[in-house]
């Protein structure tokens, strides 16, 4: 045993006298967190689950780079078998100032003792009135939720995540998994049945035809399957081996049923950094907050520090940006967007700090709409909404 090891043992023994037994701090800590004012969801990391999973997989690929060769060899030949109808949206003319926008609302009721509840509903963009959908349900629809990671992360049940305007149904999957025509969606599950991210062996990608109510296995892969988006080019998915490894990207063609591998995405390719992007910070804080209808990522750069730059944009080509907003954190505009939802009218944004929604189009620019709502029997309500379906 080295001197270093001896000292380590001594320090362990000495401090263990004070530390052990380690109390179970989780219940009281969680209670303290719940008793504290709930934070608005932070935007820099506010990658909607698509982004989160993609980023996790990308970062995972960096962390597990040593598995690269192994993972690459694990990629099996595609085994797609089912085709779905062509996924091309046919948007009708919708006036964004006079339409019903499907949203997931966070209702803050109070004071005193503000309580938060989440429900699905619609915002009338002409008046800003939010109305909850009492009949909202995803009963009988497959997919959604998370199998968790065993003891690390508990499973979560399916919840309403998006809305199909063509079929007027709430869906248990994020919009990224829904066909552009809204008539079907894809979902995935781990195998063997009942397994978690901690012990699964493979995953199945399913295609569910909402109109017909039929479900088909589209693909089976020895790793996790994450859907990045479903657009006119097909279903873009990424996969990661069960024990980590390189993320692989694929395009599933819903017409031909083929699945082809795509070139890997370098995380730094998110957008082209330009002079001035970093501001006063040593690092570049940014987040992808969604995509437009053409699959172009919407980025937000800056920070939540008052006075820091706060820019939201997308790229039409490397280094060529269209700015949706170029302001300062905390400025009078008050633009503090959550996730983006794109439809035929442009881009919709929820807002972190204020009960309002925002709409942007190249023709009209950025516009704010205040949201109001008052569930029965309550006195004061703030309604924070997140658009989850195309305005109708």
């Amino acid at each position: 045993m080295t001197v270093d090891d001896q000292l380590r043992e001594q320090i362990h023994a000495s401090l263990d006298d004070v530390t052990e037994p380690i109390p179970n701090l989780a219940p009281v800590t969680i209670a303290r967190i719940r008793a504290s004012k709930p934070p608005r969801r932070g935007w820099v990391p506010a990658l909607q689950a698509a982004g989160v999973l993609a980023l996790a997989a990308i970062v995972g690929s960096i962390v597990f780079v040593s598995h690269q060769l192994t993972a690459a060899h694990q990629a099996p030949p595609p085994s797609a078998t089912v085709a779905s109808p062509p996924a091309v949206a046919s948007p009708s003319a919708v006036d964004p100032t006079r339409c019903r926008l499907p949203v997931i609302a966070n209702l803050e009721v109070g004071p005193p003792n503000p309580q938060n509840t989440t429900q699905a509903g619609f915002v009338d963009t002409a008046t800003g009135q939010y109305v909850g959908d009492a009949s909202a349900s995803i009963a009988g629809l497959p997919g959604g939720g998370s199998p968790g990671s065993g003891s690390i992360k508990p499973a979560t049940p399916p919840m309403i995540q998006s809305y199909s305007s063509s079929l007027q149904r709430w869906l248990p999957v994020y919009q990224r998994s829904v066909a552009p025509d809204g008539r079907s969606y894809v979902w995935d599950r781990l195998l063997p049945a009942g397994s978690t991210y901690g012990n699964f062996q493979k995953a199945e990608l399913h295609w569910f035809d909402l109109a017909a109510g039929t479900d088909h296995v589209l693909w089976t892969y020895p790793g996790s399957i994450n859907v990045e988006r479903w657009d006119g080019s097909g279903i873009i998915i990424n996969t990661v081996p069960p024990t980590g490894g390189v993320q692989l990207r694929w395009r599933a063609d819903p017409v031909s049923g083929t699945i082809s591998q795509l070139p890997p995405v370098n995380r730094s390719e998110g957008f082209t950094e330009l002079p001035g992007d970093r501001g006063k910070s040593p690092g570049l804080g940014y987040a992808g907050i969604g995509t437009d209808t053409q699959g172009r990522s919407i980025f937000r750069i800056g920070s939540r520090q008052a006075g820091d730059r706060d820019w939201v944009f997308f790229e039409t080509a490397p280094g060529q940006r269209v700015y949706i907003y170029k302001g300062t954190q905390g400025d009078a505009t008050g633009f503090d967007p959550m996730e983006t939802f794109a439809d035929s009218t442009g881009l919709w944004f929820g807002d972190y700090l204020h009960p309002q929604i925002w709409h942007w189009s190249a023709a009209t620019g950025l516009r704010k709409m205040a949201v109001t709502g008052q569930p029965s029997g309550t006195s004061t309500t703030n309604v924070y909404v997140n658009p989850v379906g195309p305005c109708m």
Binding site: I11, L25, A26, T29, G42, P45, V63, K153, V240, G244
Partner: protein, 177 residues
């Protein structure tokens, strides 16, 4: 917890998933408590420090870089909380507990448990922090550098100085990076 699972949980916690944050806490709280106990040598204060750090972490989750591991970040918050608590009780310490002071060098052969704790308590906070992280939490120097926000070489220097103080005459070997 695998890095991929952790990143997934962090991502979900960032978008407001309390359950995901709870799952992270169940891993982070014990190690945070050990750090706080080592720094403060008081179970009650350590519990307060870790709980407060957890609340702060929940509030500041935005500030965690998207590709950063959460444990070093969380332990940094715990360390800051410990500093605040010690600053807050400094006058009390001065007035009521003269035994807690920088100590003379303890015997370099047999250091009793209480003596070693007292010796650790006598270290300057930045030196004590790296000792606790390296010898008690068994973290690599690179991660300690991340937690403390100090360069790798500075961490190694602090550890060297701390050991010289704890055990004068000790021939310090190269630390494991």
């Amino acid at each position: 917890m695998t890095p991929a699972a952790e990143l997934e949980l962090v991502g979900q916690a960032r978008i407001g998933d309390e359950a995901a944050f709870e799952a992270l806490l169940r891993v982070l709280l014990p190690v945070g408590y050990r750090l706080a106990c080592g720094m403060l040598q008081d179970r009650q204060l350590a519990e307060d420090a870790v709980q407060e750090a957890a609340v702060n972490a929940w509030r500041k989750l935005d500030q965690l870089k998207t590709d950063a591991r959460i444990q070093p970040w969380f332990l940094g918050i715990v360390a800051n909380q410990c500093r605040s608590i010690r600053r807050g009780r400094w006058w009390n310490v001065l007035k009521t507990d003269p035994s807690i002071r920088p100590v003379e060098a303890p015997d370099d052969r047999v250091v009793g448990s209480a003596d070693l704790r007292r010796a650790l308590a006598g270290l300057k906070p930045d030196l004590r922090l790296v000792v606790i992280l390296y010898y008690y939490l068994d973290l690599p120097l690179q991660e300690i550098a991340t937690i403390t926000g100090a360069p790798f070489t500075a961490v190694r220097g602090r550890l060297y100085r701390a050991l010289k103080y704890l055990r004068p005459g000790l021939e310090v070997l190269e630390f494991q990076p």
